[in-house]
């Protein structure tokens, strides 16, 4: 683990609401785009434009008309204070600009100054302020300390969604050439190569062939991880981290085993080798659409009948909530299945039909808890009942593990705390806010460890998994205490014809 050059919060039994300390995080700014291509490839100016003042106001005016929600959010706040202690970044940093209302006000004060009657004539009375270069830098700093997790919106009596305000602010910044390196470089890679990592086809092929070997060595069963197979029934779109990182890849191994046992034909695609869509993080509809169109194109070219999404939080939001309007209509897919479907829905359905055999004892060395990822929890659903996005992943876990407990109810479900690394913040230059913002989640996890003997936390989001591996060591936990949900499935599933050696009695009975 890297040495921390900032103070790591100490875990207590509860996260107390801290007394305000102004400016504690004012120093933190992610790297700005330096290579102009990373801006121009996305349709933004290569560097900060000279007339940024006018262009900023023009864009803000454009956005408040384009998105009525933004205008309502900027107008509706009554400063009731409900949101103030709900943001993990405020709880971890004490900085009032990391309170949701403080963050919103950074944009709101400019909106009021230039677009409301009171703000134009009596700015001081209504907290309206001029747009200056300092304002812009403040936006850049604090709108990149928001993971767009939307926890605050659950508690706001008006339903003000700070994530949308953050997205709008980032879109304004991008429109004047003041973009963030991490997000924009990644989106440029998706446009060019097909995924966030920039994995070319041959590297993906090499990786999945390696997985086939490993699974065969382990089980004696020829489970395939097909790539670019025309005429397959299912296109699996999964985060490219699933090919690259741990524990993500163990989840990918699990998806393949489930597809194998289901007896369906499926394929990955080199051109749609990314579920994630950072276009959402930067609030850019155009980029979100371009990224989504890759999936439509691949589905058409391969002639698939279904699209299934792997374990990726914000991808599921884009897929579940926006895919049809971004890249639809998907009238060429089989209407008997959800368009698109989540891998947890797919697995859960097979479990309920009794089509999968498990030896749960394979996970007996762990006591699992589940971290609800923000975008899945608060922006989507799974299955056909309210709350399915909470129940289905838990049902999958409980079907393959004997030992499961939830964390404190105030930190799960729709009240889940962000991992601290979502929304385009999963970059080393933001490590300080990532570690501090993880405080509430780490506190709940540590309590579950102390009270219930939890050993591992499972997640269905590539960002959460990577963030946990990086921040857990700062809090005295091990990086391998985070697992993929389908990694647990993979451990327990008994494949037809699998070598039973050492697999335990249950496996023999089942297999």
């Amino acid at each position: 683990m890297a040495k921390a050059d900032f103070e790591v919060p100490e875990l207590q039994e509860h996260v107390d609401v801290p007394a305000l300390e102004e400016g504690t995080m004012a120093h933190l700014k992610p790297f700005v785009v330096k290579n102009p291509d990373h801006n121009t490839d996305l349709g933004f100016p290569g560097e900060l434009v000279e007339d940024w003042h006018d262009k900023t106001l023009e864009k803000l005016d454009d956005l408040r008309h384009r998105y009525r929600s933004l205008q309502v959010y900027l107008d509706a706040c009554v400063k009731c204070g409900s949101c103030t202690d709900k943001c993990h970044y405020y709880l971890g940093t004490k900085d009032p600009k990391n309170m949701p209302v403080g963050r919103q006000d950074l944009l709101r004060k400019v909106y009021r100054r230039y677009f409301t009657f009171a703000g134009k004539f009596f700015p001081k009375l209504v907290g309206a302020e001029d747009l200056t270069r300092e304002t812009l830098d403040d936006w850049y700093s604090y709108y990149h300390q928001c993971s767009q997790c939307r926890r605050c919106s659950v508690f706001c009596p008006y339903g003000i969604d700070t994530a949308e305000i953050s997205m709008a602010a980032r879109e304004i910044l991008d429109s004047i050439g003041y973009g963030q390196k991490y997000c924009n470089e990644i989106i440029a890679k998706v446009h060019k190569v097909g995924n966030n990592l920039g994995l070319p086809g041959p590297a993906i092929l090499d990786t999945v062939q390696g997985l086939e070997e490993d699974v065969f060595d382990e089980t004696g069963v020829e489970v395939k991880y097909p790539l670019d197979v025309k005429g397959a029934d299912i296109l699996l779109v999964t985060p490219s981290a699933d090919f690259f990182a741990e524990p993500h890849v163990d989840g990918l191994i699990g998806y393949g085993k489930v597809f194998h046992e289901a007896g369906v034909s499926w394929t990955l695609s080199t051109t749609a080798s990314e579920a994630g869509n950072f276009g959402m993080f930067i609030g850019s509809y155009e980029n979100m659409r371009r990224v989504s169109m890759r999936i439509r194109k691949a589905a058409l070219e391969l002639g698939v009948k279904r699209i299934v999404f792997g374990e990726c939080g914000h991808a599921w939001r884009v897929a579940y909530a926006f895919l049809n309007t971004l890249a639809g209509p998907f009238d060429f897919l089989d209407p008997n299945y959800p368009v698109p479907q989540h891998i947890c829905e797919f697995t859960d359905d097979l479990i309920k039909k009794g089509k999968l055999n498990f030896d749960k004892s394979q996970n007996d060395d762990m006591t699992i808890t589940f971290h609800d990822s923000c975008n899945v929890a608060r922006a989507t659903r799974m299955g056909d009942k309210p709350g399915g996005q909470f129940e289905i992943p838990r049902n999958v876990i409980k079907s393959v593990c004997n030992n499961y407990v939830d964390m404190d109810h105030n930190t799960i479900g729709e009240r889940t705390f962000c991992c601290g690394g979502g929304g385009g913040l999963l970059t080393d230059d933001l490590m300080e806010i990532r570690v501090k913002g993880a405080l509430p989640r780490m506190t709940a996890l540590q309590n579950a460890i102390d009270e219930h003997g939890v050993t591992h936390v499972a997640a269905i989001c590539a960002i959460c998994k990577s963030q946990f591996t990086k921040v857990m060591p700062y809090y005295g936990l091990d990086m391998d205490q985070i697992v993929s949900v389908h990694q647990l499935v993979s451990n327990a599933i008994v494949l037809t014809g699998q070598k039973t050696e050492g697999a335990g009695e249950a496996a023999e009975a089942a297999g």
Partner: protein, 110 residues
């Protein structure tokens, strides 16, 4: 900040990664390691060389599993895991070892 090596000044990005891959020479890894308080051993070089070979073929750093598998095959199963790699490169094989090897930083949800 540029890195000084054998009388040349080579450009690096904000995070210390070499901008031009072709300018890499082994000395660079040694200098970067020293800045991170590491002394490179043969074990480190095995990884660095593998990363460069893989990059040469695939234009991307190897996935963690590909790397651990290759290490396991070459150096024995007990070393074929990320714990071993993190013991060698505390900042992570992807990030630290890639930097030493002159490869670009892997990006994405990792």
């Amino acid at each position: 900040m540029p890195i000084e090596v054998n009388g040349k000044s080579l450009e690096t990005d904000e995070e210390g990664y070499l901008v031009n891959l072709a300018e890499w020479e082994p000395e660079i890894a040694t200098i970067m390691a020293k800045e991170d308080d590491l002394e490179l051993t043969d074990e480190h070089w095995e990884i660095i060389n593998f990363l460069r070979e893989y990059y040469d073929e695939y234009q991307i750093a190897p996935a963690v599993r590909v790397l651990t598998k290759a290490v396991g095959k070459k150096l024995g199963k007990e070393k074929g895991n990320s714990k071993y790699l993190y013991a060698l490169f505390p900042y992570g094989p992807g990030k630290q070892a890639c930097r030493f090897a002159g490869l670009p930083k892997p990006t994405g949800c990792i």
